[in-house]
Symmetry: C2
Subunit: 125 residues, 2 copies
DNA sequence: ATATTAATAGTAATAATTCCTATTACTATT
DNA sequence: AATAGTAATAGGAATTATTACTATTAATAT
């Protein structure tokens, strides 16, 4: 695969946020430095970066997002504000336990927590 | 909400399969008994049934599916054939464990197993 | 039976994503 | 440095999934 400035910028933009952005958000960002870029180029490169294992595509309900963090990890989804936040299920033995229970070949366990993020929680004791 | 024959048939079709069908699949099925039905009616009623809690909408990557089983349960996704199969994580204490670890209010834990279903596994010992 | 009005069929509109093609710009070779 | 070969891009068309609109139909209360 040949070097491409567009792809580098897209990659940098992704690596600079933890917000799991959509293709459209990336598009509007990359336009700031490359005004001539097209949305198709953004989609094509996001797909390539995913294929290369450089980033990971995340399906947040009906919304497609992109994650610079290609390491296996899980997410918390806030019902109130829609934020998608990384969570580390430190005890990865949870996943191993789950894997052992089935007559399928389980390669991955994806866990999404759903609820309300601390931004909306009353601090008052 | 008023009775509708269309909605009843859609519900029955969903309740007769474990395949987590798409709106389009439901549409083609319901056409067999109601040839005049429109795709919009299928979508509208699936959304209403979800809203009523009668069925559950499932996001399988970029594919939207519908599940008659509105009880909390998890799924296994086969990378080879794309099948989405119910799994019962019998030990629901797993989920309670996970819930206890975070400074968010966690209402639900969604778990998807990803791998290869037994249809493709060699039986040979 | 009639009136009321929610639900439908059919179609148009929208949104996300992919496809197509002429043009551009890396890269290797003279 | 110029040339040739070709991968990547820009821009727009096409596709797909879903929602919105509206005249007509049909469920329900009177
Ligand atoms: Mn993440
Ligand atoms: Mn299910
Ligand atoms: Zn929130
Ligand atoms: Zn399979």
């Amino acid at each position: 695969m040949r070097f491409s400035h567009q792809r580098e910028v897209i990659k940098e933009i992704l690596y600079a946020t933890n917000s799991h952005p959509t293709a459209d958000w990336v598009f509007s960002k990359v336009r700031m430095s490359i005004p001539s870029i097209s949305l198709g180029t953004v989609y094509r490169n996001l797909k390539q970066l995913d294929y290369l294992g450089v980033i990971k595509t995340i399906y947040d309900g009906p919304i497609t997002r992109y994650d610079w963090n290609n390491e296996p990890h899980d997410h918390f989804k806030c019902k109130k504000c829609g934020a998608l936040v990384d969570v580390a299920l430190s005890d990865s033995s949870i996943k191993e336990n789950i894997k052992d229970k089935f007559n399928f070949k389980v390669d991955d366990v994806e866990i999404t927590l759903i609820g309300t993020c601390n931004k909306h929680l009353k601090i008052n004791k």
